[in-house]
Symmetry: D2
Subunit: 426 residues, 4 copies
């Protein structure tokens, strides 16, 4: 059943995004409209003042790219109109499960409820008004929900999931460009349409034609530089950890993790939770500091470039991190609770983006004259990709301004290197 055109939405990045009727109805559902009140990059605005874009416009961008991708001359041979519309709807919905401040709230979800934002997306798509709208247009909410988190697992069509969730999915392609646009960080101006136009199916997987290798490498590098300059930025992390701390302290009093229904969960957004945290005795001081830009200070920072993950794994153990914290505290004569060890690349501490950075092998191929696709190993044809696997671990020690010097020196003694306070660059 072909879906009727409804109208268009103006996006500063892609221009006009054309919208079908089912898309319009789902965009107007509360769980999607709520994304207007979830920032894309909570915390980054303390480094990049203009980084105020939201998951709403990002979701529209992902919908758009999904549409362009399924229409390309390769994928359109594997996907019929109805599947194409379903992929676009799943793309639109991929972030509806995010909580306030996105990955920061996910830290609570993970630590106290053993859930991810994908679990919540799956839940919301199936249990909210979205499900009714999907059914109205002939879609199975359960299938769309699974596809929205990249777990449809349709036989012989792994690429459907990979459009939404893989190393070169439309989510990442949108945010690399969008985050650059709104921060001004300039690391993400990548020829994503080269990828959008040339992505193809190899066996059943989404794969990159070697003809687009430069675009792929640029994209990978852009992601790394964006992690370093935006997502893992020292100051941005400080703000994020403060929000994480505030939420953790106030969670019981505010019932942040005792929601039962989608309605209760969806009532939380950046705005409502910020207001709640300001009123709660336990978190108020942190929020006031944030509102005055009195941020935690980085007292020590070290970056490791390691191919194997041994070093990362050491820091994965909260006990080891706590032990380091205690030793620094003792040496610096500062209370341990004034010290925070941050390893943003790790799948543990406060909260992490590392899943976004996972060094997956991306299927690559070239086509023969006869149209046969010959698979290649990306790490064999791309020196850049090879070296970047396992790239970069950052360990940082944060504290409050008055303890910065003492903590920095203690950390430097214990962990080696130079205290941050001795360095002013960057």
């Amino acid at each position: 059943m072909p879906k009727r055109h409804w109208g268009e939405i103006k996006d500063p990045i892609y221009g006009y995004i054309y919208i079908t009727e089912p898309e319009k109805e789902i965009i107007d559902c509360f769980p999607v409209q709520r994304l207007r009140r979830l920032r894309q990059l909570a915390g980054a605005e303390f480094v990049y003042p203009a980084a105020n874009h939201t998951r709403f416009e990002h979701s529209l961008g992902v919908l758009y790219l999904a549409g362009r991708l399924v229409e390309n001359s390769n994928l359109s041979e594997y996907i019929d109109k109805d599947e194409a519309q379903m992929v676009k709807l799943a793309a639109l919905l991929h972030d509806v499960g995010h909580g306030p401040f996105s990955h920061i709230f996910e830290h609570l979800l993970s630590k106290f409820m053993n859930k991810t934002h994908e679990d919540m997306t799956f839940w919301i798509v199936r249990e909210s008004e979205i499900a009714d709208k999907l059914e109205k247009y002939g879609y199975n909410p359960d299938e769309v929900a699974r596809l929205a988190v990249g777990r449809l697992h349709k036989g012989g069509k792994a690429f459907l999931d990979q459009i939404i969730r893989s190393s070169v999915d439309v989510d990442k392609l949108d945010f690399i460009v969008r985050d650059t646009y709104h921060t001004g960080a300039e690391y993400g101006y990548v020829d994503i349409f080269r990828l959008i136009h040339t992505l193809d199916v190899l066996e059943e997987n989404l794969a990159v034609d070697v003809g687009a290798l430069s675009a792929l490498e640029s994209f990978i590098i852009a992601r790394i530089e964006s992690f370093r300059s935006i997502y893992f930025h020292r100051v941005s992390r400080a703000a994020q950890m403060m929000i994480a701390l505030a939420m953790e302290k106030a969670k019981d009093e505010l019932g942040l993790i005792s929601f039962k229904t989608p309605e209760e969960y969806l009532a939380f957004n950046d705005c409502t939770v910020w207001a709640m945290l300001k009123q709660c005795e336990k978190s108020r001081q942190i929020m006031e500091n944030l509102e005055r830009r009195k941020l935690l200070k980085c007292a020590f920072e070290q970056t490791f470039y390691e191919k194997d993950r041994t070093i990362s794994r050491i820091f994965e153990f909260e006990e080891i991190r706590n032990q380091i914290k205690n030793e620094i505290a003792q040496k610096a004569k500062v209370a341990p609770e004034k010290i925070i060890i941050d390893v943003p690349t790790l799948p543990s501490v406060p909260y992490r983006h590392s899943v976004l950075m996972e060094p997956m092998e991306i299927p690559v191929f070239y086509k023969t004259k006869e149209g046969k696709k010959i698979p290649k190993k990306l790490s064999e044809i791309s020196r850049i990709f090879d070296i970047l696997k396992g790239f970069m671990n950052i360990i940082r020690v944060y504290t409050e301004a008055p303890y910065r010097e003492k903590v920095g020196e203690a950390a430097a003694e214990i962990l080696g290197g130079t205290p941050y306070s001795a360095r002013i660059s960057f």
Copy 2:
């Protein structure tokens, strides 16, 4: 006393904005940091999803342009280093008095307190921690406060006020470009640096060299198209009026206009007030509609292009507007309170931007070989400017979705023209 360089801030529009120490300290004051929680274009996000930029980044942009302007080869001959720093600080502070949702709150300020946001800016600069910081660096808070609202009135130096507040001030130059950047509306890509580089002093006024006439005309046109497409957009206005209504209904219960101290006033921002309006019985329904994008519908729209203001003046009388409302209500058999007459260009109804559109004569000159500046009348040398004076009055009739057709037809009978529901374009 030359001010020490502190560092730089990345802006997606201008690149690096260099910041001095006094600027840094004032940026970190609470009233300036609070601007992070005031959107630049409240309501416009319902038309342009990416329009989530705030008055914080705008204020940094205005600081930047002020710095570029006072350094140009013309103005730098009239302004010494200390004045230049003072102009930049005033530029940074020009918006600190805005309330939640900016011009929408200003409607309350105006209607119930007979104040403008400039009055609040003046108050905040003098009565908050900003004053202490200004004094620390040798500036008179009262003078900076007056300059921030364009009323320093320094003898023989009217251009100082005009840098902050005139037809081609740095405020307007920043937002024309910034609003275009974040909406994607494409009407504001104007060669503002041509103006920044060539603005000069004529007698004591800020004046435009005829060499920059094309840039000036483009700027004027861009403003008009931006008003039509962004600020006065039918849907954007609907959202703004709903917020205005919600605030008006809830104002007493929430104490929105009973603040006594800067602290009380500054506690209001888009986020806190949105949360309050959702909890207040009187405004809750409106906010829930907004959160679900159930907006007021435009039932009738007419645009007049009139050189004299006679027609505008008719609508300035609330009694006349009410009378029209009642007649439409009667003919449509709809309760009058379901009908809203909106004339966004007028200095009265719900709230208005019209002060921003005032058709002021801009001083223009050309320079002789000998360097003499010969004044010209802009309306004589620019046909475009001439025609645009007094440009455009829009009258619209809004109502709720179920009454749209009836109200549209009644309005068309009474006011002439075609009901909006009969037209689907735009």
Copy 3:
């Protein structure tokens, strides 16, 4: 017969331009490849150093926009696949008849052969290898040739011609953006895709939905400012007139207007003719001056804004212009051949762009709920358009540097106003 996709070409403005096989074969024909050696804006590089773009990339851009336009949801109902391909080919070919330095050579064509570049386009499409390629793919060269110059006159389908040649044709839409991109002049960042997406058929004419009125007005203004700042720029015109003079002097010796076959005509391009003019005794000095940027100087300039064309018509008579020239010469005591009267907006003197500026009425409509299109008069709904009809006549007097002052003063006495040398702005 659907045309096979061949590949894509990267354009800095539109990104990837997708090309079919017939398009590829025609792009590779010599008359199209030759467009690489015809600058888009001969002379403008003396004002905007980066304005080195050619008619080749412009023609690809026009092909692209034509493709987007015929695919829009309105036009696609009136045009079948074969017609769509034909329109795209005609768009690609619309400029193949241009001679060296484009409009400058057209001055020779017009003055001595009574031809326009459109006549040459018609000739080249039919008489060159392009005709064979068109036939190979089933197109009638004569029809394509007529369409390429906007004179197919297909019964009931006037809009086909108007896509190529009208007030909002794809040619103008491309160059407004492209000339801005390469000059940096910033007047042409217009939302052309709003127009591309909403253009429709009214009766049989290409028409603009009032919903796109802001985009249309911006486009019209952008054209005017571009004329003033780029095409008619004082310095740009000086360079253009020098090339025109050089060609006129050398034309017989170099056989510039004695070509008999397409091959002979197509052998002329900016590069070959520039080299020839440098070797010809009669034009050498002018070319050496150009190569050293010793340009004619503007001694006097006056701009008239007149609604009726009376004043323009006065200057249309070469005898009147000559008389003025002689009087200035006599008063200034300078030989008449040292003086050039330039009225770039006129359909006569040296050569002109004015056909590009013609104030045509553009069909405009709005759609009713039922889908009916109600025609409107543009000049009634757009104040901006109304005022701009008949806009702007510029008269300038040029001479060589040593006579600038004398000629300027004489011209000022005779024509009124201020000599240019007394003004340094702009």
Copy 4:
């Protein structure tokens, strides 16, 4: 002696470039104006149609960046006003020695005259009218000439040369952005102003603050991707080799390398030499093929990523390349002169850009709180940089279209890998 401001030039990339009087006079000299007729990227237009920018606008861009760099808060402490002006002039002049088609002509200079374009720059600056202008403003032409090629060797001020010629010089910073802008290749949108603002002096060398490491890495990657996608692009190289061949064949008849005076040398530009090559019997056929886009075809391509240069060195010997050519010819039963072995990264074959890619160590440092600069090894702190040293050798075998398959197969047998004709990607 401070230099007077003359005016500004509009650049599409940087906006307004402010020009002093001495700069203006030197820009108007013939050797600089001639750069308008030397394309920046000869050959690349066959891949990127819009790549028509010239060395003229590039030179203005380099002047601009040099000005911004010497004014930054670090370098301005080491450079006085007069030196700053001299650096800007040298930057402006750094390319005046280029011959037609730039690096392609340099192949002739190198092979038959044992010269580089820098030698010619040095010669032109000293022996042309430029020298007079420099002296008029108090500069020593010999010093400026040496600085223009990065060989002033001023005691204790190595950074002066490095501004013009080093791994992060203003030449490379300009072209990375400019080539991206005009090709649309999207690999070069790099935060060059981060580098421009933070470059500093370490001992006497130009050095990068680790705070700008991301910008530096992005720049390095952008250069590599630009080499692969633009400068070394298969099709671009084909066109370049054809021009190189044409010039080599016609050089004696046209006297391309028998010039004696600057005037004779400067008479050559892209336009004049193209016209000459079309008339010369020996080169005409090649030029006609170029004008019809009948380019050499790549029959075989292999890329090696090698850290040491052993493999590169093998191909450096013309004898070895000839031997390979002969063996391929014999096996393919094709005349050897129909085969070209291209190794664009090598300092030998046809002509090369490799000097531009040289893997130099860039000085890097961080600053302590006390302002001390602590040197670091870039390869230690940047994994990306480390891996990229010695990056990428490409070997290609070209031939004419009819022999493509045979030559490709023969090359694959001899050199291993797959013939190009069997692969259609890219």
